[in-house]
Protein backbone atom coordinates (compact mmCIF):
# COMPACT_ATOMS: atom_id res chain seq x y z
CA UNK A 1 0.00 0.00 0.00
CA UNK A 2 2.83 2.36 0.93
CA UNK A 3 4.33 1.67 -2.48
CA UNK A 4 1.12 2.59 -4.25
CA UNK A 5 0.89 5.83 -2.26
CA UNK A 6 4.49 6.54 -3.18
CA UNK A 7 3.78 6.13 -6.88
CA UNK A 8 0.60 8.19 -6.64
CA UNK A 9 2.55 11.02 -4.98
CA UNK A 10 5.17 10.95 -7.72
CA UNK A 11 2.43 11.02 -10.35
CA UNK A 12 0.82 14.02 -8.66
CA UNK A 13 4.11 15.91 -8.37
CA UNK A 14 5.18 15.21 -11.94
CA UNK A 15 1.69 16.18 -13.10
CA UNK A 16 2.28 19.56 -11.46
CA UNK A 17 5.63 19.94 -13.26
CA UNK A 18 4.11 18.84 -16.54
CA UNK A 19 1.08 21.11 -16.30
CA UNK A 20 3.38 24.01 -15.50
CA UNK A 21 5.55 23.26 -18.52
CA UNK A 22 2.53 22.84 -20.77
CA UNK A 23 1.46 26.41 -20.06
CA UNK A 24 4.57 27.67 -21.84
CA UNK A 25 5.32 24.79 -24.20
CA UNK A 26 1.87 23.68 -25.28
CA UNK A 27 -0.16 26.85 -24.98
CA UNK A 28 2.42 29.48 -25.85
CA UNK A 29 4.66 27.42 -28.12
CA UNK A 30 7.85 28.07 -26.17
CA UNK A 31 9.57 24.71 -25.88
CA UNK A 32 11.41 25.15 -22.63
CA UNK A 33 13.93 22.62 -21.38
CA UNK A 34 14.58 24.24 -18.02
CA UNK A 35 11.60 23.28 -15.90
CA UNK A 36 13.81 21.20 -13.59
CA UNK A 37 16.01 24.22 -12.92
CA UNK A 38 12.98 26.13 -11.67
CA UNK A 39 11.53 23.41 -9.55
CA UNK A 40 15.08 23.05 -8.27
CA UNK A 41 15.12 26.67 -7.13
CA UNK A 42 11.77 26.09 -5.45
CA UNK A 43 12.99 22.89 -3.82
CA UNK A 44 16.27 24.34 -2.54
CA UNK A 45 14.64 27.49 -1.21
CA UNK A 46 11.91 25.58 0.57
CA UNK A 47 14.35 23.06 2.01
CA UNK A 48 16.88 25.65 3.17
CA UNK A 49 14.31 27.92 4.76
CA UNK A 50 12.80 25.01 6.65
CA UNK A 51 16.13 23.63 7.79
CA UNK A 52 18.11 26.76 8.52
CA UNK A 53 15.39 29.05 9.73
CA UNK A 54 12.84 26.58 10.96
CA UNK A 55 10.21 28.16 8.78
CA UNK A 56 6.88 26.41 8.35
CA UNK A 57 6.68 24.43 5.12
CA UNK A 58 3.87 26.46 3.67
CA UNK A 59 5.63 29.76 4.27
CA UNK A 60 8.89 28.33 2.94
CA UNK A 61 7.04 27.06 -0.10
CA UNK A 62 5.57 30.48 -0.72
CA UNK A 63 9.00 32.06 -0.39
CA UNK A 64 10.39 29.49 -2.81
CA UNK A 65 7.71 30.34 -5.34
CA UNK A 66 8.33 34.06 -4.98
CA UNK A 67 12.08 33.70 -5.38
CA UNK A 68 11.58 31.49 -8.42
CA UNK A 69 9.20 34.03 -9.87
CA UNK A 70 11.79 36.72 -9.39
CA UNK A 71 14.47 34.67 -11.15
CA UNK A 72 11.96 33.94 -13.92
CA UNK A 73 11.20 37.63 -14.28
CA UNK A 74 14.85 38.45 -14.90
CA UNK A 75 15.44 35.42 -17.07
CA UNK A 76 12.19 35.92 -18.93
CA UNK A 77 13.31 39.37 -20.00
CA UNK A 78 16.33 37.68 -21.56
CA UNK A 79 14.42 34.74 -23.03
CA UNK A 80 11.76 36.93 -24.59
CA UNK A 81 14.36 37.81 -27.21
CA UNK A 82 14.69 34.19 -28.34
CA UNK A 83 12.52 32.19 -30.69
CA UNK A 84 12.09 28.58 -31.76
CA UNK A 85 15.31 26.54 -31.70
CA UNK A 86 17.24 29.34 -30.09
CA UNK A 87 14.76 29.48 -27.27
CA UNK A 88 15.31 25.77 -26.66
CA UNK A 89 19.09 26.23 -26.58
CA UNK A 90 18.78 29.22 -24.27
CA UNK A 91 16.73 27.16 -21.82
CA UNK A 92 19.20 24.27 -22.03
CA UNK A 93 21.88 26.79 -21.17
CA UNK A 94 19.98 27.98 -18.13
CA UNK A 95 19.47 24.41 -16.88
CA UNK A 96 23.24 23.94 -16.90
CA UNK A 97 23.89 27.26 -15.24
CA UNK A 98 21.36 26.50 -12.48
CA UNK A 99 22.83 23.03 -12.08
CA UNK A 100 26.29 24.58 -11.72
CA UNK A 101 24.98 26.84 -8.98
CA UNK A 102 23.31 23.94 -7.12
CA UNK A 103 26.44 21.85 -7.24
CA UNK A 104 29.07 24.55 -6.73
CA UNK A 105 27.57 26.89 -4.16
CA UNK A 106 28.51 24.38 -1.53
CA UNK A 107 28.20 26.59 1.53
CA UNK A 108 24.53 27.06 0.75
CA UNK A 109 23.36 23.98 -1.13
CA UNK A 110 25.67 21.36 0.29
CA UNK A 111 27.08 20.82 -3.21
CA UNK A 112 26.98 17.30 -4.60
CA UNK A 113 26.07 15.90 -1.18
CA UNK A 114 22.76 17.72 -1.26
CA UNK A 115 20.50 18.49 1.66
CA UNK A 116 19.39 15.59 3.83
CA UNK A 117 16.77 15.55 6.55
CA UNK A 118 14.25 17.97 5.10
CA UNK A 119 11.15 17.88 7.31
CA UNK A 120 7.69 16.97 6.11
CA UNK A 121 5.02 19.71 6.04
CA UNK A 122 3.17 20.61 9.18
CA UNK A 123 -0.03 22.60 9.55
CA UNK A 124 -1.63 23.58 12.87
CA UNK A 125 0.23 20.80 14.62
CA UNK A 126 -0.69 18.17 12.05
CA UNK A 127 2.29 16.60 10.30
CA UNK A 128 1.96 15.22 6.79
CA UNK A 129 4.48 12.54 7.61
CA UNK A 130 2.52 9.48 6.54
CA UNK A 131 2.46 8.72 2.83
CA UNK A 132 -1.28 8.83 2.74
CA UNK A 133 -1.57 12.28 4.28
CA UNK A 134 1.15 13.57 1.97
CA UNK A 135 -0.70 12.10 -0.97
CA UNK A 136 -3.81 14.02 -0.01
CA UNK A 137 -1.74 17.20 0.23
CA UNK A 138 -0.11 16.58 -3.15
CA UNK A 139 -3.43 15.83 -4.80
CA UNK A 140 -4.95 18.95 -3.25
CA UNK A 141 -2.14 21.05 -4.68
CA UNK A 142 -2.44 19.34 -8.05
CA UNK A 143 -6.15 20.09 -8.00
CA UNK A 144 -5.50 23.74 -7.25
CA UNK A 145 -2.86 23.95 -9.97
CA UNK A 146 -5.17 22.25 -12.44
CA UNK A 147 -8.06 24.59 -11.71
CA UNK A 148 -5.77 27.61 -11.89
CA UNK A 149 -4.27 26.47 -15.17
CA UNK A 150 -7.74 25.78 -16.55
CA UNK A 151 -8.78 29.30 -15.63
CA UNK A 152 -5.75 30.77 -17.38
CA UNK A 153 -6.00 28.80 -20.60
CA UNK A 154 -9.71 29.34 -21.03
CA UNK A 155 -9.50 33.07 -20.31
CA UNK A 156 -9.06 35.57 -23.15
CA UNK A 157 -5.47 35.80 -21.94
CA UNK A 158 -5.03 32.12 -22.75
CA UNK A 159 -6.47 32.71 -26.17
CA UNK A 160 -3.87 35.38 -26.84
CA UNK A 161 -1.19 32.92 -25.71
CA UNK A 162 -2.36 30.41 -28.28
CA UNK A 163 -2.35 33.10 -30.94
CA UNK A 164 1.24 33.93 -29.96
CA UNK A 165 2.08 30.29 -30.41
CA UNK A 166 0.47 30.26 -33.85
CA UNK A 167 1.84 33.55 -35.20
CA UNK A 168 3.40 36.03 -32.84
CA UNK A 169 3.87 38.78 -35.44
CA UNK A 170 0.32 38.53 -36.68
CA UNK A 171 -1.23 38.81 -33.22
CA UNK A 172 1.02 41.70 -32.24
CA UNK A 173 -0.31 43.77 -35.11
CA UNK A 174 -3.71 43.55 -33.43
CA UNK A 175 -2.37 45.50 -30.52
CA UNK A 176 -0.85 42.96 -28.15
CA UNK A 177 2.56 43.43 -26.60
CA UNK A 178 3.40 39.80 -26.88
CA UNK A 179 6.56 39.98 -24.77
CA UNK A 180 4.46 40.89 -21.70
CA UNK A 181 2.22 37.91 -22.28
CA UNK A 182 5.15 35.58 -22.70
CA UNK A 183 6.83 36.97 -19.62
CA UNK A 184 3.77 36.62 -17.43
CA UNK A 185 2.99 33.04 -18.44
CA UNK A 186 6.66 32.15 -18.01
CA UNK A 187 6.64 33.50 -14.46
CA UNK A 188 3.37 31.72 -13.66
CA UNK A 189 4.72 28.50 -15.10
CA UNK A 190 7.95 28.60 -13.12
CA UNK A 191 6.15 29.47 -9.89
CA UNK A 192 3.90 26.45 -10.31
CA UNK A 193 7.01 24.35 -10.98
CA UNK A 194 8.57 25.77 -7.79
CA UNK A 195 5.45 24.76 -5.87
CA UNK A 196 5.92 21.20 -7.08
CA UNK A 197 9.64 21.44 -6.31
CA UNK A 198 9.01 22.43 -2.70
CA UNK A 199 6.62 19.51 -2.31
CA UNK A 200 9.14 17.16 -3.90
CA UNK A 201 11.92 18.28 -1.54
CA UNK A 202 9.72 17.81 1.50
CA UNK A 203 8.44 14.47 0.28
CA UNK A 204 11.84 13.00 -0.55
CA UNK A 205 13.33 14.64 2.60
CA UNK A 206 16.56 14.73 0.61
CA UNK A 207 17.58 16.64 -2.51
CA UNK A 208 20.80 16.83 -4.50
CA UNK A 209 21.66 18.56 -7.77
CA UNK A 210 20.98 15.38 -9.76
CA UNK A 211 17.26 15.78 -9.01
CA UNK A 212 17.29 18.98 -11.09
CA UNK A 213 19.59 18.14 -14.00
CA UNK A 214 18.86 18.50 -17.69
CA UNK A 215 17.79 14.84 -17.73
CA UNK A 216 14.87 15.72 -15.46
CA UNK A 217 13.93 18.73 -17.57
CA UNK A 218 13.84 16.48 -20.61
CA UNK A 219 11.79 13.96 -18.64
CA UNK A 220 9.15 16.59 -17.90
CA UNK A 221 9.16 17.62 -21.55
CA UNK A 222 8.68 13.97 -22.50
CA UNK A 223 5.66 13.74 -20.18
CA UNK A 224 4.04 16.71 -21.87
CA UNK A 225 4.91 15.56 -25.36
CA UNK A 226 3.55 12.09 -24.70
CA UNK A 227 0.35 13.25 -23.04
CA UNK A 228 -0.21 16.04 -25.48
CA UNK A 229 0.80 19.66 -25.80
CA UNK A 230 -1.89 22.27 -25.41
CA UNK A 231 -4.22 20.25 -23.24
CA UNK A 232 -4.34 19.95 -19.47
CA UNK A 233 -5.41 16.33 -19.32
CA UNK A 234 -2.44 15.41 -21.48
CA UNK A 235 0.32 16.22 -18.98
CA UNK A 236 -1.49 14.35 -16.20
CA UNK A 237 -1.98 11.32 -18.42
CA UNK A 238 1.67 11.55 -19.52
CA UNK A 239 2.86 11.71 -15.91
CA UNK A 240 0.77 8.68 -15.06
CA UNK A 241 2.25 6.62 -17.89
CA UNK A 242 5.84 7.78 -17.58
CA UNK A 243 6.00 7.30 -13.82
CA UNK A 244 4.41 3.85 -13.92
CA UNK A 245 6.09 2.44 -17.02
CA UNK A 246 9.64 2.34 -15.59
CA UNK A 247 8.25 0.85 -12.37
CA UNK A 248 7.04 -2.11 -14.38
CA UNK A 249 10.67 -2.72 -15.33
CA UNK A 250 11.59 -3.28 -11.72
CA UNK A 251 9.19 -6.19 -11.60
CA UNK A 252 10.82 -7.66 -14.68
CA UNK A 253 13.92 -7.84 -12.52
CA UNK A 254 16.41 -5.28 -13.79
CA UNK A 255 18.96 -3.98 -11.33
CA UNK A 256 18.28 -0.45 -10.04
CA UNK A 257 21.13 1.06 -12.08
CA UNK A 258 19.96 -0.59 -15.29
CA UNK A 259 16.35 0.25 -14.46
CA UNK A 260 17.30 3.92 -14.10
CA UNK A 261 18.87 3.84 -17.56
CA UNK A 262 15.87 1.96 -18.95
CA UNK A 263 13.68 4.79 -17.72
CA UNK A 264 15.78 7.26 -19.72
CA UNK A 265 15.74 4.91 -22.68
CA UNK A 266 11.95 4.68 -22.59
CA UNK A 267 11.25 8.36 -22.51
CA UNK A 268 13.92 9.10 -25.10
CA UNK A 269 12.36 6.55 -27.38
CA UNK A 270 8.90 7.99 -26.71
CA UNK A 271 10.12 11.45 -27.71
CA UNK A 272 11.34 10.10 -31.04
CA UNK A 273 8.23 8.01 -31.67
CA UNK A 274 5.80 10.77 -30.78
CA UNK A 275 7.61 13.29 -32.99
CA UNK A 276 7.65 10.81 -35.83
CA UNK A 277 4.09 9.52 -35.64
CA UNK A 278 1.96 11.64 -33.34
CA UNK A 279 3.38 15.10 -32.63
CA UNK A 280 0.18 16.21 -30.89
CA UNK A 281 0.62 13.51 -28.23
CA UNK A 282 -2.06 11.15 -26.94
CA UNK A 283 -4.78 13.69 -26.15
CA UNK A 284 -3.07 16.92 -27.18
CA UNK A 285 -4.59 19.76 -29.10
CA UNK A 286 -1.45 21.31 -30.47
CA UNK A 287 0.68 19.83 -33.19
CA UNK A 288 4.21 21.15 -33.12
Amino acid sequence: MEYIFHLAILIALFSIFAVSLDLVAGYTGLISVCQAAFYGIGAYTTALLMQNMGLNFFLALLAGMLLTGLVALILGLVFSKFKGDYYVLGTVAFTYIAYSVFINWQSLTGGPLGIPGIPRPELFGFSFSSSFSFLLLAVAFLGAVYVGARFIVSSPFGRVLRAIREDEEAISVFGYRTSFYKLLIFIISTMIAALGGGLLASYLTYIDPGTFSITESIFVLAIVVLGGLGSLRGPVLGALILVLLPEALRFVGFSPDIAAQMRVLIYGLLLVIMMRYRPQGLVGEYKL
Binding site: G84, Y86, V88, N104
Partner: protein, 289 residues
Protein backbone atom coordinates in the same frame (compact mmCIF):
# COMPACT_ATOMS: atom_id res chain seq x y z
CA UNK B 1 54.18 33.36 -17.15
CA UNK B 2 54.16 29.57 -17.29
CA UNK B 3 50.61 29.59 -15.99
CA UNK B 4 49.56 31.91 -18.78
CA UNK B 5 51.22 29.69 -21.38
CA UNK B 6 49.48 26.63 -19.96
CA UNK B 7 46.11 28.39 -20.01
CA UNK B 8 46.67 29.36 -23.60
CA UNK B 9 47.63 25.80 -24.48
CA UNK B 10 44.59 24.43 -22.66
CA UNK B 11 42.42 26.91 -24.54
CA UNK B 12 43.86 25.78 -27.84
CA UNK B 13 43.31 22.11 -26.92
CA UNK B 14 39.70 22.74 -25.90
CA UNK B 15 39.19 24.92 -28.99
CA UNK B 16 40.52 22.18 -31.24
CA UNK B 17 38.14 19.56 -29.89
CA UNK B 18 35.20 21.95 -30.03
CA UNK B 19 36.23 22.83 -33.57
CA UNK B 20 36.14 19.19 -34.65
CA UNK B 21 32.74 18.79 -33.03
CA UNK B 22 31.35 22.09 -34.29
CA UNK B 23 32.44 21.97 -37.93
CA UNK B 24 30.43 18.83 -38.64
CA UNK B 25 27.53 20.02 -36.52
CA UNK B 26 27.38 23.29 -38.38
CA UNK B 27 27.74 21.70 -41.79
CA UNK B 28 24.74 19.52 -40.94
CA UNK B 29 22.86 22.58 -39.69
CA UNK B 30 23.66 24.30 -42.97
CA UNK B 31 22.03 21.65 -45.13
CA UNK B 32 19.22 20.55 -42.83
CA UNK B 33 18.43 23.93 -41.20
CA UNK B 34 17.85 22.35 -37.84
CA UNK B 35 20.02 21.72 -34.83
CA UNK B 36 20.85 18.04 -34.56
CA UNK B 37 20.96 17.45 -30.81
CA UNK B 38 21.88 13.83 -31.50
CA UNK B 39 25.22 14.95 -32.93
CA UNK B 40 26.95 14.10 -29.65
CA UNK B 41 26.16 10.40 -29.89
CA UNK B 42 28.53 10.05 -32.83
CA UNK B 43 31.39 10.90 -30.48
CA UNK B 44 30.14 8.54 -27.80
CA UNK B 45 29.59 5.52 -30.02
CA UNK B 46 32.98 5.96 -31.69
CA UNK B 47 34.90 6.15 -28.45
CA UNK B 48 32.94 3.32 -26.85
CA UNK B 49 33.55 1.20 -29.93
CA UNK B 50 37.27 1.82 -29.48
CA UNK B 51 36.93 0.98 -25.79
CA UNK B 52 35.03 -2.21 -26.58
CA UNK B 53 37.45 -3.35 -29.27
CA UNK B 54 40.82 -2.19 -28.03
CA UNK B 55 40.41 -2.39 -24.26
CA UNK B 56 37.90 -5.18 -23.81
CA UNK B 57 38.86 -7.33 -26.79
CA UNK B 58 42.52 -6.40 -27.33
CA UNK B 59 42.08 -5.59 -30.99
CA UNK B 60 44.87 -3.55 -32.57
CA UNK B 61 44.34 0.12 -31.87
CA UNK B 62 44.45 1.44 -35.46
CA UNK B 63 41.83 -1.11 -36.47
CA UNK B 64 39.73 -0.23 -33.43
CA UNK B 65 39.95 3.47 -34.28
CA UNK B 66 38.99 2.87 -37.90
CA UNK B 67 36.04 0.73 -36.82
CA UNK B 68 35.06 3.32 -34.21
CA UNK B 69 34.87 6.03 -36.84
CA UNK B 70 32.99 3.66 -39.11
CA UNK B 71 30.42 2.99 -36.37
CA UNK B 72 29.88 6.76 -35.99
CA UNK B 73 29.44 7.21 -39.74
CA UNK B 74 27.07 4.27 -39.89
CA UNK B 75 25.00 5.66 -37.03
CA UNK B 76 24.93 9.01 -38.83
CA UNK B 77 23.43 7.23 -41.82
CA UNK B 78 20.93 5.31 -39.69
CA UNK B 79 19.70 8.36 -37.77
CA UNK B 80 19.39 10.42 -40.92
CA UNK B 81 17.41 7.73 -42.70
CA UNK B 82 15.21 6.69 -39.80
CA UNK B 83 14.45 10.02 -38.14
CA UNK B 84 15.48 13.12 -40.01
CA UNK B 85 14.60 12.21 -43.56
CA UNK B 86 11.06 11.02 -42.77
CA UNK B 87 10.46 14.13 -40.68
CA UNK B 88 11.75 16.39 -43.43
CA UNK B 89 9.49 14.60 -45.88
CA UNK B 90 6.55 15.38 -43.57
CA UNK B 91 7.68 19.01 -43.50
CA UNK B 92 7.90 18.78 -39.74
CA UNK B 93 8.81 21.98 -37.95
CA UNK B 94 12.29 22.62 -36.59
CA UNK B 95 11.06 22.04 -33.08
CA UNK B 96 9.88 18.56 -33.98
CA UNK B 97 13.30 17.76 -35.42
CA UNK B 98 14.95 19.26 -32.37
CA UNK B 99 12.91 17.20 -29.91
CA UNK B 100 13.25 14.03 -31.96
CA UNK B 101 17.02 14.46 -32.09
CA UNK B 102 17.11 15.12 -28.35
CA UNK B 103 15.17 11.89 -27.84
CA UNK B 104 17.55 9.95 -30.09
CA UNK B 105 20.45 11.39 -28.17
CA UNK B 106 19.28 10.20 -24.78
CA UNK B 107 18.30 6.80 -26.17
CA UNK B 108 21.84 6.14 -27.42
CA UNK B 109 23.28 7.55 -24.21
CA UNK B 110 21.12 5.22 -22.12
CA UNK B 111 22.02 2.23 -24.29
CA UNK B 112 25.71 2.95 -23.80
CA UNK B 113 25.19 3.25 -20.06
CA UNK B 114 23.33 -0.05 -20.00
CA UNK B 115 26.04 -1.93 -21.86
CA UNK B 116 29.13 -0.19 -20.52
CA UNK B 117 27.85 1.25 -17.20
CA UNK B 118 27.64 4.96 -16.56
CA UNK B 119 30.99 5.00 -14.74
CA UNK B 120 33.91 7.05 -15.97
CA UNK B 121 36.44 4.83 -17.72
CA UNK B 122 39.77 5.39 -19.43
CA UNK B 123 41.59 4.19 -22.47
CA UNK B 124 44.92 4.62 -20.70
CA UNK B 125 45.86 0.97 -21.12
CA UNK B 126 45.88 1.35 -24.90
CA UNK B 127 46.67 5.03 -25.43
CA UNK B 128 49.68 5.33 -27.68
CA UNK B 129 52.36 7.12 -25.71
CA UNK B 130 54.14 9.72 -27.79
CA UNK B 131 55.63 11.25 -24.69
CA UNK B 132 55.08 14.84 -23.68
CA UNK B 133 56.02 17.92 -25.67
CA UNK B 134 57.21 21.09 -23.99
CA UNK B 135 56.38 24.38 -25.64
CA UNK B 136 57.35 27.75 -24.12
CA UNK B 137 57.26 26.19 -20.70
CA UNK B 138 53.84 24.56 -21.19
CA UNK B 139 53.25 20.85 -21.53
CA UNK B 140 51.31 18.99 -24.18
CA UNK B 141 50.74 15.25 -24.38
CA UNK B 142 51.07 13.46 -27.69
CA UNK B 143 47.31 13.09 -27.96
CA UNK B 144 46.88 16.80 -27.43
CA UNK B 145 49.32 17.52 -30.22
CA UNK B 146 47.25 15.30 -32.49
CA UNK B 147 44.13 17.25 -31.45
CA UNK B 148 45.72 20.59 -32.21
CA UNK B 149 46.94 19.39 -35.57
CA UNK B 150 43.73 17.67 -36.63
CA UNK B 151 41.43 20.65 -36.15
CA UNK B 152 43.06 22.87 -38.81
CA UNK B 153 43.63 19.81 -40.95
CA UNK B 154 39.93 19.00 -40.96
CA UNK B 155 39.17 22.66 -41.57
CA UNK B 156 41.44 22.55 -44.63
CA UNK B 157 39.73 19.38 -45.84
CA UNK B 158 36.32 20.99 -45.42
CA UNK B 159 37.53 24.02 -47.34
CA UNK B 160 38.87 21.86 -50.15
CA UNK B 161 35.64 19.91 -50.27
CA UNK B 162 33.34 22.91 -50.19
CA UNK B 163 35.25 25.10 -52.62
CA UNK B 164 36.81 22.66 -55.01
CA UNK B 165 34.52 19.72 -55.55
CA UNK B 166 31.21 19.23 -57.28
CA UNK B 167 29.90 17.70 -54.08
CA UNK B 168 30.90 20.78 -52.12
CA UNK B 169 29.16 22.99 -54.61
CA UNK B 170 26.01 20.94 -54.19
CA UNK B 171 26.33 21.18 -50.40
CA UNK B 172 26.55 24.95 -50.65
CA UNK B 173 23.57 25.03 -52.97
CA UNK B 174 21.48 23.00 -50.52
CA UNK B 175 22.63 25.25 -47.68
CA UNK B 176 21.61 28.36 -49.58
CA UNK B 177 18.20 27.17 -50.58
CA UNK B 178 17.02 23.60 -50.52
CA UNK B 179 14.05 24.23 -52.80
CA UNK B 180 16.15 25.88 -55.48
CA UNK B 181 18.74 23.12 -55.18
CA UNK B 182 15.99 20.57 -55.80
CA UNK B 183 14.75 22.45 -58.82
CA UNK B 184 18.18 22.51 -60.45
CA UNK B 185 18.32 18.76 -60.05
CA UNK B 186 20.39 18.23 -56.94
CA UNK B 187 19.37 15.16 -54.97
CA UNK B 188 19.09 17.03 -51.70
CA UNK B 189 18.33 13.93 -49.63
CA UNK B 190 21.49 12.25 -50.85
CA UNK B 191 23.55 15.37 -50.15
CA UNK B 192 22.11 15.74 -46.65
CA UNK B 193 22.70 12.03 -46.02
CA UNK B 194 26.36 12.25 -46.99
CA UNK B 195 26.83 15.45 -44.97
CA UNK B 196 25.40 13.63 -41.95
CA UNK B 197 27.91 10.83 -42.43
CA UNK B 198 30.83 13.24 -42.83
CA UNK B 199 29.78 15.20 -39.76
CA UNK B 200 29.32 11.98 -37.80
CA UNK B 201 32.78 10.76 -38.81
CA UNK B 202 34.49 13.97 -37.74
CA UNK B 203 32.54 13.94 -34.49
CA UNK B 204 33.69 10.34 -34.02
CA UNK B 205 37.29 11.52 -34.31
CA UNK B 206 36.58 14.22 -31.72
CA UNK B 207 35.10 11.64 -29.39
CA UNK B 208 38.01 9.21 -29.75
CA UNK B 209 40.57 11.96 -29.17
CA UNK B 210 38.69 13.16 -26.08
CA UNK B 211 38.60 9.58 -24.85
CA UNK B 212 42.36 9.25 -25.27
CA UNK B 213 42.97 12.60 -23.63
CA UNK B 214 40.77 12.31 -20.56
CA UNK B 215 38.53 9.27 -20.62
CA UNK B 216 34.99 8.37 -21.42
CA UNK B 217 31.53 8.26 -19.94
CA UNK B 218 28.11 8.13 -21.58
CA UNK B 219 27.50 11.88 -21.10
CA UNK B 220 30.63 13.03 -22.93
CA UNK B 221 28.94 13.07 -26.30
CA UNK B 222 26.17 15.36 -25.13
CA UNK B 223 28.66 17.73 -23.54
CA UNK B 224 30.68 17.82 -26.77
CA UNK B 225 27.47 18.50 -28.64
CA UNK B 226 26.68 21.43 -26.38
CA UNK B 227 30.17 22.80 -26.99
CA UNK B 228 29.60 22.36 -30.71
CA UNK B 229 26.24 24.12 -30.56
CA UNK B 230 27.65 27.04 -28.60
CA UNK B 231 30.65 27.33 -30.93
CA UNK B 232 28.35 27.29 -33.96
CA UNK B 233 26.17 30.04 -32.61
CA UNK B 234 29.19 32.14 -31.65
CA UNK B 235 30.70 31.74 -35.10
CA UNK B 236 27.51 31.83 -37.13
CA UNK B 237 25.16 28.91 -37.71
CA UNK B 238 25.53 27.00 -40.94
CA UNK B 239 29.03 28.32 -41.51
CA UNK B 240 31.84 25.76 -41.14
CA UNK B 241 34.52 28.43 -40.83
CA UNK B 242 32.42 30.25 -38.26
CA UNK B 243 32.21 27.04 -36.24
CA UNK B 244 36.00 26.81 -36.22
CA UNK B 245 36.35 30.40 -35.06
CA UNK B 246 33.58 30.03 -32.48
CA UNK B 247 35.17 26.87 -31.10
CA UNK B 248 38.41 28.67 -30.28
CA UNK B 249 36.59 31.64 -28.80
CA UNK B 250 34.69 29.21 -26.59
CA UNK B 251 37.88 27.34 -25.69
CA UNK B 252 39.61 30.56 -24.63
CA UNK B 253 36.57 31.93 -22.81
CA UNK B 254 36.19 28.71 -20.85
CA UNK B 255 39.81 28.32 -19.86
CA UNK B 256 40.46 31.94 -18.99
CA UNK B 257 37.13 32.06 -17.16
CA UNK B 258 38.02 28.95 -15.19
CA UNK B 259 41.32 30.56 -14.24
CA UNK B 260 39.54 33.54 -12.73
CA UNK B 261 36.72 31.69 -10.99
CA UNK B 262 37.25 27.96 -10.72
CA UNK B 263 36.98 24.76 -12.70
CA UNK B 264 33.54 23.77 -11.55
CA UNK B 265 32.03 26.79 -13.23
CA UNK B 266 33.18 25.76 -16.71
CA UNK B 267 29.70 24.97 -18.00
CA UNK B 268 28.19 28.03 -16.41
CA UNK B 269 30.80 30.12 -18.24
CA UNK B 270 30.22 28.38 -21.56
CA UNK B 271 26.48 28.78 -21.35
CA UNK B 272 26.71 32.37 -20.23
CA UNK B 273 28.73 33.05 -23.36
CA UNK B 274 25.96 31.35 -25.34
CA UNK B 275 23.25 33.48 -23.77
CA UNK B 276 25.26 36.64 -24.38
CA UNK B 277 25.61 35.77 -28.05
CA UNK B 278 21.96 34.78 -28.39
CA UNK B 279 21.08 38.16 -26.95
CA UNK B 280 23.46 40.48 -28.69
CA UNK B 281 24.59 38.73 -31.84
CA UNK B 282 22.27 35.79 -32.57
CA UNK B 283 23.56 35.50 -36.11
CA UNK B 284 27.09 34.89 -34.81
CA UNK B 285 30.34 36.57 -35.74
CA UNK B 286 30.45 35.48 -39.38
CA UNK B 287 26.70 35.23 -39.84
CA UNK B 288 24.68 37.64 -41.88
CA UNK B 289 21.77 39.36 -40.28
Amino acid sequence: MDVLIQIILNSVIAGSIYALAAMGFNLIYGVSRSFNLAHGVFASVAVYAVFFLAVQHAILLPIAIALGIFVAVFLGYVLERSIFRPLRAKRASNLVLLIASLGASIVVEALIAIFFSSQFQTLSSVVPSFGAVRIFGGVLTGVQVVMIVSAPLVLALFWLMLSHTRFGKAVRAVSDDEEVAKIVGINTNAIIGVVFMIGAGVMGVAGILTGFDTGLDPRMGFLLLLGAAIASIIGGTGNVYGAFLGAFILGFAENFGVFFVSGEWKYAIAFSVLILFLLFRPQGILGKK
